[in-house]
Symmetry: none
Subunit: 226 residues, 2 copies
């Protein structure tokens, strides 16, 4: 199994290389985001361990770029725990798993094994539900075939909902995942953004389930007035 470790902190990189090699992996190391991306593209690795904070190109951008180029190799992200970067962001970018520093080496190994067991999954290029299509890589949204421009928040909200097609998602869950969990945001923000989103994708495509949350809905073709 070939692994790519992208980590600029030399000590940690060396430790990881040694540890993983001892487990029988073939390990390459890149010291910044740009190099990491290059190597990931052409290296034929089975998985990648990727720090978030990197010189030249952040870990987020590396994953995003890879996914945009349709490379699906499993990515395990590492980040300092200072709240500035957060797990949801990482996973949204297309990472497969996430670990905050400091982490136990045993946990890292376990997660990595889990990833390798799952393997590179062919991912849907675009998420779709009804006549709403969302492309996370290109950050584009099509409703009934025509493009709609969304702000960052609106996009994140729609993405979270469309990954749970048809299911009811509670406001607290949305707050936790679409908004930064650390910041205390008034729950009302969700309602406000639901409102914005509805104006853009069409009122009927986003249903309120009173007391429970929100749910994407399929609007019958022909009826669709966005």
């Amino acid at each position: 199994m070939r692994l790519l470790v992208v980590e600029d902190e030399a000590r940690l990189a060396a430790a990881l290389r040694r540890g993983l090699q001892a487990e029988g992996f073939a390990v390459d190391v890149a010291a910044d985001g740009q190099d990491g991306l290059e190597m990931a593209r052409h290296g034929g690795y089975d998985a990648m361990i990727l720090d978030v904070m990197l010189p030249r190109l952040s870990g987020y951008r590396v994953v995003r770029q890879l996914r945009a180029e349709r490379h699906w190799l499993p990515v395990l992200m590492l980040s300092a725990k200072d709240g500035e970067y957060d797990q949801a962001d990482g996973l949204d970018c297309g990472a497969d798993d996430y670990l905050t520093k400091p982490f136990s080496y045993v946990v890292l190994l376990a997660r990595l094994r889990a990833l390798l067991r799952r393997g590179a999954q062919a991912r849907p290029v675009v998420l779709a539900f009804g006549d709403v299509e969302l492309d996370p890589a290109e950050r584009r949204v099509l409703v009934a075939g025509t493009e709609v421009t969304l702000t960052t928040r609106e996009f994140a909200l729609l993405e979270y909902l469309i990954r749970r097609p048809g299911q009811v998602v509670s406001k607290t869950e949305l707050l936790d995942h679409v908004w930064d969990a650390s910041l205390e945001t008034a729950p009302n923000a969700v309602e406000v953004y639901v409102g914005y989103l509805r104006r853009k994708i069409g009122r009927d495509r986003l249903e309120t389930v009173r007391g429970a949350g929100y749910r994407l809905a399929i609007v019958p073709p022909g009826t669709g007035v966005s």
Copy 2:
């Protein structure tokens, strides 16, 4: 086998970790419900041991949330035996097995092994009884194939009844579980909501057992006028 232990009492958590690691399991520990939920989502565990009384998010809520998100990992619940929390509640939330403190470590191991042997079972996504289908995740109800919209209370009531298919459920039990136990609600409320529900799902599908409670009933196909 990877296990997640969610337990806030440090002594017990440490004891479990040590004991289970000695048995050859890889063990992670979370100290509150919120962390536990996060880790359960992304950690790729084979099973979870979950205390009921936890800071931030109760064990019940953790399981409920996991199940709502279609994670089926086996869950073994632990609770103090003080009657406040009870076994039925735990199992209703979607736990797979239940142990009251104090428990013997040998019993815990045995139950855990049994769970792991069964593994994560793909669960029925929808609950059904007769021609009534209820999908907790999408929060939808179909009666004889056509959708029926229910309010929060009505939905909770039907969900509770349909989880006890065909059994008689007393009014006090309904009050305890469908209504907030802390608030004193007049018992009459149950009758009122049974009435509402009957109007929506069809009179015959919800029987009164005089002096005992209510029971869902199967109406013969063809007869069914909702």
